[in-house]
Symmetry: C2
Subunit: 586 residues, 2 copies
């Protein structure tokens, strides 16, 4: 038996018990004939105490061999501490050690295994298995586990069945690039890895499973970017005989449940925001509504005053930074530089200071007199002391730019508070979006998304205006996930394919098996996919595979085991060439 208790378990009530603990040596102190060892495991830290003349000499001898991160087993009596440590749950007691065993020695770790470590990122990544011993890193993984458990518990209670869909599938036409897996057993043939189980889950609805979910790995052969991993985990769900509102209720309920269970927070009901309003008021389909600073459109008051930049613009739009009229020239220059940076890409920034004395000072005083500026201020409901920031240009572009500026101001003014959570649903996304490259409309979500019945008439006259039964869950400016009510009627689906520019043959080739299934009694259905990595990150848990996997890096900084691909050996390459039909078998 390696231990009777963990290192996080013993309390003052346990005094006088004979116990055995195992763990890692966090720290050894040796002073005036006394020695203390902080023994650490996943569950906590317990102090061991040794005393010359009391502790057996051979135990003391072993204690003096201990180094940081040695793995030991210690047996002794629980005693009350003289000077208690109220920062740790075991701080009232210590163990008077009678026997000690070194289970494994350890080389001196290259950085301290402490909450605030002295290891830089490179060193921590190289010795990831040691970094993972630190509390903040380990807690992220534990939190991810807790969230997954709670998601499963909630969905199980809601009658969802978790059904595993295959990882080795056939390549399907979707947005990103599939990973292709040559089968060495079947030369010239290939599997693909799924970008999502979309078609599987729709088939499961046709099969009558009613409520499906899966916490599932998905794959995209894309560049490693900050928010795009080649493999990522999603909470994938589909439901039959439901309407949009049912789905919003269930998954809003799930996230509320998580906030309650994990952070002990009540986050209330999720407001619904029309996609069109989100774009108009925040310039983004994933607005951070922890703070206001909504866009105000100024075309009426700011155009036709002789300022060509505005007059030529499709949209003149402003935000109001409360209490920022005192911004210095330097601060305003910094804002101008920010909007002109590559990240934002605006041509320039117009500002108006609403001075305390009721006057206005703007960067366009040449074109706008006090009365004109007062009209802006009135439109924007500005008070003395406020700063107005105005951008202009083509509508879609300027909204994107203003979104960046708004978030930047939110950061500057500390309005995007950590620990505060403001979720919402963005609803009624457009069904189609225009693609300049191919000069045709594409499905914004996917070709199975159903249009709003009341907008169907617009399909022929103004396709871009047709709204879909599609929705995104957004928290603090992060798109946690989204979904839609699907088309379940074959005729409507064919109409949709036509509008998406598919010929009958193309539609049959790409989606024939699903269309065929739909002929045998497909129920009304819809679903949602939530990014599990993003959801975990929202709670401070592990957000990506890079975060949570114990993989060491080699000296050139490359992962030894995962995530960055590597070369294969000659035999494997030979076999792959055979699999690709580029070479005959011997």
């Amino acid at each position: 038996m390696y231990r009777s208790h963990t290192c996080g378990e013993l309390r003052i009530e346990d005094v006088n018990k004979e116990v055995t603990l195992s763990g890692w040596v966090q720290r050894v102190r040796d002073k005036g004939g006394m020695a203390w060892v902080d023994l650490r495991d996943r569950y906590g830290i317990t102090q061991l105490i040794f005393e010359e003349g009391v502790t057996a000499p051979e135990v003391l001898e072993k204690t003096r061999q201990l180094g940081r991160e040695f793995v030991i087993q210690a047996t002794g009596t629980v005693v009350e501490r003289y000077s208690k440590n109220d920062k740790i749950p075991t701080g009232a007691i210590e163990i008077k050690v009678s026997a000690i065993e070194i289970l494994n020695a350890a080389k001196l770790p290259p950085f301290m295994i402490e909450d605030d470590t002295d290891g830089g990122d490179d060193l921590r990544m190289k010795y990831r298995y040691l970094d993972l011993r630190r509390n903040p890193v380990r807690e992220k993984l534990a939190l991810r586990h807790r969230i997954a458990q709670e998601v499963r518990r909630y969905l199980d209670e809601q009658n969802f069945l978790e059904i595993e869909t295959p990882v080795l599938i056939k390549s399907t036409p979707e947005g990103a690039r599939d990973f292709i897996v040559p089968s060495r057993m079947n030369p010239g043939e290939f599997y693909a890895l799924p970008q999502s189980p979309q078609t599987f889950k729709q088939l499961l609805m046709v099969s009558g499973f009613d409520r499906y979910f899966q916490i599932v790995k998905c794959f995209r052969d894309e560049d490693l970017r900050a928010d795009r991993q080649p493999e990522f985990t999603q909470i994938d769900c589909e439901l039959a005989f439901i309407e949009q509102q049912d789905i919003l209720d269930i998954f809003e309920g799930m996230v509320r449940h998580l906030f309650r269970m994990v952070l002990n927070q009540e986050i209330g009901e999720f407001p619904h925001m029309e996609y069109a309003d989100a774009m108009r008021l925040y310039g983004s389909d994933k607005p951070d509504i922890r703070f206001g600073m909504e866009f105000v459109e100024l075309n009426e008051v700011a155009q036709n005053k002789g300022f060509k930049v505005f007059d030529d613009a499709e949209l003149v739009v402003g935000i109001k930074a409360e209490g920022c009229a005192s911004y210095t020239r330097k601060q305003l220059d910094a804002l101008t530089n920010f909007v002109k940076s590559q990240q934002v890409g605006a041509k320039g920034l117009v500002y108006v200071k609403c001075n305390e004395d009721g006057s206005f000072k703007s960067s366009v005083d040449k074109f706008f007199d006090q009365e004109a500026l007062a009209a802006w201020a009135q439109t924007m409901e500005a008070k003395a002391g406020d700063l107005l920031l105005v951008l202009s240009g083509a509508k879609d572009e300027v909204r994107k730019q203003m979104n960046e500026l708004r978030l930047h101001m939110g950061n500057e003014l500390g309005l995007r508070k950590e620990g505060e959570f403001k979720p919402l649903w963005v609803v009624n996304f457009p069904l189609l979006e225009w693609d300049e490259e191919t000069k045709r409309f594409h499905a914004m979500h996917h070709p199975f998304t159903s249009p709003k019945p009341e907008d169907m008439a617009l399909l022929d006259t103004d396709p871009g205006a047709v709204r879909a039964n599609a929705y995104d869950m957004v928290i603090n400016g992060v798109e946690i996930g989204g979904g839609s009510i699907r088309i379940h009627d074959r005729e409507q689906q064919q109409l949709m394919f036509k509008h998406l520019g598919f010929t009958d043959e193309e539609a049959k080739e790409q989606f024939g098996f699903l269309m065929e299934a739909f002929e045998y009694g497909a129920p009304p259905h819809g679903g949602i996919a939530l990014g599990f990595d993003r959801l975990c990150a929202m709670f401070g848990g592990s957000e990506s595979i890079r975060d949570y996997i114990a993989f060491p890096k080699n000296n050139s900084g490359r992962d030894v085991m995962i995530d960055s691909p590597a070369s294969v050996d000659g035999t494997q390459l030979d076999e792959l060439q055979i699999a690709l039909n580029l070479k005959k078998e011997d």
Copy 2:
């Protein structure tokens, strides 16, 4: 709102309620001005009733359009049935329908959606999404969900953390063949798919996670055989600071918990059986102990009596089929043919009938008199009426053959009862096994498996006799899973590599990163991996991906979406060739 209740929900207490149900039309009966529709969903079947002169004509009209598997919505009043159907939970009521809507029409399905369908295997596979509507198939998937939930709940309560390990990894040297995934983003570089998260979980132990588990997909680029799928699911676990007995207790507890929760059965404690005893008594490391019929070695009583076949044999071994002395010539011939079949491969079968009158009749009466046969019977503790079946030959071979014969007799005599479960632990597997091809010892489990300390001395003198801290869980003759206590000491690991014939360079090349991690304080640890597919099959749940995925087959019988690889298009092939560095990018 598509429904107020499901089709499995309404009871006699609900009479007079106005309800709306949605589902599939199971059956329509129309007789004497009355019509009945059985409406089905995942949760059950509810009867709808229509009556000329009572039901509105337009509702009746729609009802007459209904065909099997139409998706409909019906609203009406719950009424008590005149003739109740006590075979279904809703059998006391029916719905007097006031409104009906056809949500989706359906083509006539190619087979009946009933528990005993008229669809043959091919048809059911081609229309898998319809086959999955049948109760027995759907229930298998629901059971798999339930088992996964219970596994997670149990392990969570035991302080295990579920940690996702990556699917895109680097190729590692293991038994089977890795799937290799070319990265099109990084030409010339490759990922591999994991055969198991073995190294990841051992690193997690070094990281102090203490108790890890994962229900995880694993991959092998192997032939599709009955019990080998290219992707399969395993319950993968690793624990620190534990001994073999702890692991056996925890996972025996888990399986007991599952039997209790899922089948409401108490299966009691798992007996432990030495590997050596399993081989000696059952000729198998996964004995089916639902019945006895243990092997009895007969060398002492059967050799040196002039029967050359026995005299030349390394092992003479018998089993006793109780009450089978009455077997006819035909039955005995059939048994002889069975043991001589390719599947078993024995040269012949010796039998002894223990007649009711105390005499013996054997197939070797020429060599053995009544007294000699009486000695066999005594050794085998046979009674009058029993039949002794005896094989002889080289020890390992004859044990395998006798195992087949024993299982065959078990089947014939109905001793392998469905619904009866006899689990056991097979323990103390050999550490090494001799490989004739390479003429050296290989790790039976894997090179990190620890030897029994008391057997260490044998490593130099008799390596094949060294036992490992390795164990398998076996239920009803099926190996559900297995594991081992790992080596955590670097020196012992190096000694092991030496005995496995690795040079220092080879060991470093293949396992260097793990060995390096072990230098920084590796705790004693061990683990287990249980085949989730096999475990589910044991409970009558879905056992393989072929079983539970809604994939249609095309007319030539190939899967449209999964499981059998397919060709890729020209662009993809081009990109793969670039990825394989066989072709330059344009």
